[in-house]
């Protein structure tokens, strides 16, 4: 036991003596560790973010089409718009016996790049995320008047909106010159607390408001010569005709397959009920090959780092030949020499892995907020997860294995040299 400790100390002192060269080795291993862990962190947290946003929803119902497209568009405001479904169908679903709640969503408009979502007051009471968490209003109240808007946390913070501010919605989405609903400005009535989900990056108005701003529009443009002033809109019927999707919560989750089957077989409209988890699995399998390519790449970087380690130790062996002979003369066995060299490479890899983990933590601390606001990526600063520990273990194990190459070389050398190592 004390012998191992002594050899470990000897390996440390030898490595410290060559810290100039070896720090570069540690740096390259740290770099590859950061890459490996960072990849894993981004991968799992992206998944977590997606899953959290739909974790309280049993089904997403929309017009028949691509399941993934519907989910991405309706919940995550990503990708291409899907066909609309009839409002009557949405009501029919809401009245099903097995349905606990529904949240209708109507998308299409935007404001400064953020999606505008038409919905009902149920959104604020029924939507939940991250398992059982409900939406909270940081300020104000849900929309009440027709031209009231509730802002997601990020919309408010990025555009510096406060309660009572007036803003104008754009027709359609994207960054091109969009037609503006200038004639019907909205007033900020509430601001949601941050959730870490796409909810933060959207604006919420009532379904009636969605109808109201489009009364005098047709085919994506105002109808010439026909203009309805905001105070006149209530004279028209503001009941929606169609919406994008309905989020559905069931009374009993076990009913989900039966409910899905029945909705898919709806006689009056070609509907589609999507289980969010299933659709996300489709997404993951689409992304898998890309993920794998990145993973292979970061392991290759790790291999390059370890090759550097082997090269550095091998290069140093020549000038340490004498030192090893001295240790042999003092009673070290060739196996002691192997242990010494293995300790050295393992020390370097462990140091590199720790430095890489620390570097990742530092990067997340500095750039995490940027990623969250810029890409909606919530990369939280946590202790390494089980999967990350496994990766770290993999790096150290690979480093130990790679270190056996110079150790074997030193073993052969010390057997051949005996006491006569040339200087």
């Amino acid at each position: 036991m004390s012998r191992w400790r002594f050899l470990l100390g000897l390996a440390w002192s030898s490595a410290w003596n060559r810290r100039g060269t070896l720090s570069l080795v540690v740096f390259s291993i740290a770099l590859s560790t950061t890459l490996l862990l960072g990849m894993e962190r981004v991968r799992t947290q992206v998944r977590d973010n997606f899953v959290q946003a739909v974790s309280g929803t049993d089904m997403v119902v929309g017009a028949r089409g691509s399941e993934l497209q519907l989910l991405l568009y309706a919940v995550f405001h990503m990708g291409k718009a899907t066909n609309n479904m009839g409002w009557d169908s949405a009501q029919r679903i809401a009245q099903r016996k097995d349905v606990a709640w529904t949240i209708p969503l109507s998308l299409g408009d935007s404001h400064k790049g953020f999606a505008v979502v038409g919905t009902t007051g149920d959104f604020f009471t029924q939507y939940h995320y991250s398992r059982r968490r409900h939406l909270q209003l940081a300020q104000g109240a849900p929309f009440d008047g027709i031209f009231d808007v509730v802002l997601g946390a990020e919309v408010a913070s990025k555009e510096h909106y406060k309660l009572g501010d007036r803003l104008v919605l754009s027709h359609g989405s994207g960054s091109a010159h969009l037609a503006q609903h200038t004639d019907k400005p909205f007033t900020v009535c509430g601001i949601l607390a941050p959730t870490g989900t796409p909810v933060d990056r959207a604006l919420y108005i009532s379904l009636a408001a969605m109808e109201a701003i489009h009364i005098d529009w047709q085919g994506g443009a105002p109808v010439p010569g026909f203009h309805v002033r905001p105070d006149q809109v209530t004279k028209f019927s503001l009941a929606p005709k169609s919406i994008t999707a309905v989020l559905v919560g069931l009374k009993n989750r076990a009913r989900v397959f039966a409910a899905q089957r029945e909705i898919n077989a709806d006689q009056q409209e070609a509907l589609m009920a999507v289980m969010p988890g299933v659709a996300l699995d489709q997404l993951w399998s689409l992304l898998r090959s890309g993920e794998n390519a990145l993973r292979v790449l970061s392991w290759l970087v790790t291999v390059a780092g370890l090759a550097g380690l082997v090269a550095a130790i091998l290069a140093g062996l020549g000038e340490r030949r004498r030192e090893l002979a001295v240790l042999r003369a003092a009673g070290a066995s060739p196996l002691d020499i192997v242990a010494l060299l293995s300790f050295e490479s393992t020390l370097l890899v462990v140091a590199g892995a720790l430095a890489g983990t620390a570097a990742l933590a530092a990067l997340l601390a500095v750039f995490g907020p940027v990623l969250t606001s810029g890409y909606g990526l919530n990369l939280t600063l946590t202790l390494p997860t089980a999967a990350e520990w496994r990766l770290l273990g993999g790096v150290v194990a690979a480093g130990f294995a790679a270190g056996l190459i110079p150790a074997w070389r030193a073993y052969r050398m010390s057997l051949a040299d005996g006491l006569n190592a040339s200087v």
């Binding site: 000897l10 410290w16 003092a330 009673g331 070290a332 005996g418 006569n420 200087v423």
Partner: protein
């Protein structure tokens, strides 16, 4: 001759480097008595270092037996040989004796780290291996101000004295020195030799001192020429006895 009374006893020993036809050594009989000081001389490349490696159990004889302190070194299993060497033999080389990244004290303590027996003997003698190392260093003229320092800035003479302290720590029964004075100037040479003789006597160690410098021979109880004990025809053998390129 009673093997138990000898620190070193070689009988009918031959050694041949792998891949070479000619024997480097053929020694019918060679011994060093317990507590005896022996001066072994011979030309460079004559097989002196090979003989020391045989005694240290780092090389194996092609035939015959090698006994150190009565134990057959040549038939010990490999790991037992390494620990036996650590327990029993202190070694001093011509130069570059020290591990550059260790302090002077840690260099001296190396054998006690690898050999619990040496550590125990040092503790019995001085209370602890550290105290033993400090005593030896002081007696060899290396003061406490140098102990914790790196050894790389020491003069060659100081380095050889550190090596002597390391060879002597824990009182090994046998100390072998391979041309330890050849890197020293004449004045330092005699100084070093006296220190080494005095301290090995104090430790009760036998001393096998290899050198081609015959001016030192008179200080020893017995003088042996390698040519006198080696019956191998080295004139026909490859002069560079060691394929690794021995530097003697």
């Amino acid at each position: 001759m009673n093997a138990g009374e000898q620190a070193v006893l070689l009988e009918n020993c031959t050694f041949c480097w792998p891949g070479q036809k000619e024997e480097t050594l053929r020694i019918p009989m060679f011994s060093v008595g317990k507590g005896e000081t022996v001066f072994l001389s011979g030309p460079s490349g004559g097989g002196k270092s090979t003989l020391l490696s045989l005694i240290a159990g780092i090389l194996q004889p092609s035939s015959g037996s090698v006994r150190v302190n009565g134990i057959r070194v040549d038939t010990l299993p490999r790991f037992a040989r390494d620990s036996f060497r650590g327990d029993t033999i202190g070694l001093i080389f011509q130069q570059f004796n020290l591990v550059p990244h260790l302090s002077m004290l840690d260099n001296v303590l190396l054998p006690c780290r690898f050999s619990p027996k040496r550590a125990t003997r040092a503790t019995e003698k001085d209370g602890s291996p550290e105290q033993s190392a400090q005593r030896l260093l002081e007696r060899l003229g290396l003061g406490p101000e140098l102990w914790r320092k790196s050894v790389t800035r020491l003069s060659v003479g100081q380095q050889q004295r550190v090596a002597a302290a390391r060879a002597l720590v824990g009182s090994p029964p046998l100390v072998m020195a391979d041309e330890p004075t050849s890197a020293l100037d004449a004045e330092r040479r005699a100084d070093f030799l006296h220190l080494l003789l005095r301290e090995s006597a104090e430790a009760g160690s036998s001393l096998l001192f290899v050198s081609h410098d015959l001016s030192l021979a008179n200080f020893f109880e017995r003088r042996v020429r390698l040519a006198g004990i080696n019956k191998a025809d080295i004139s026909r053998a490859d002069k560079g006895t060691n394929p690794q390129g021995e530097t003697a």
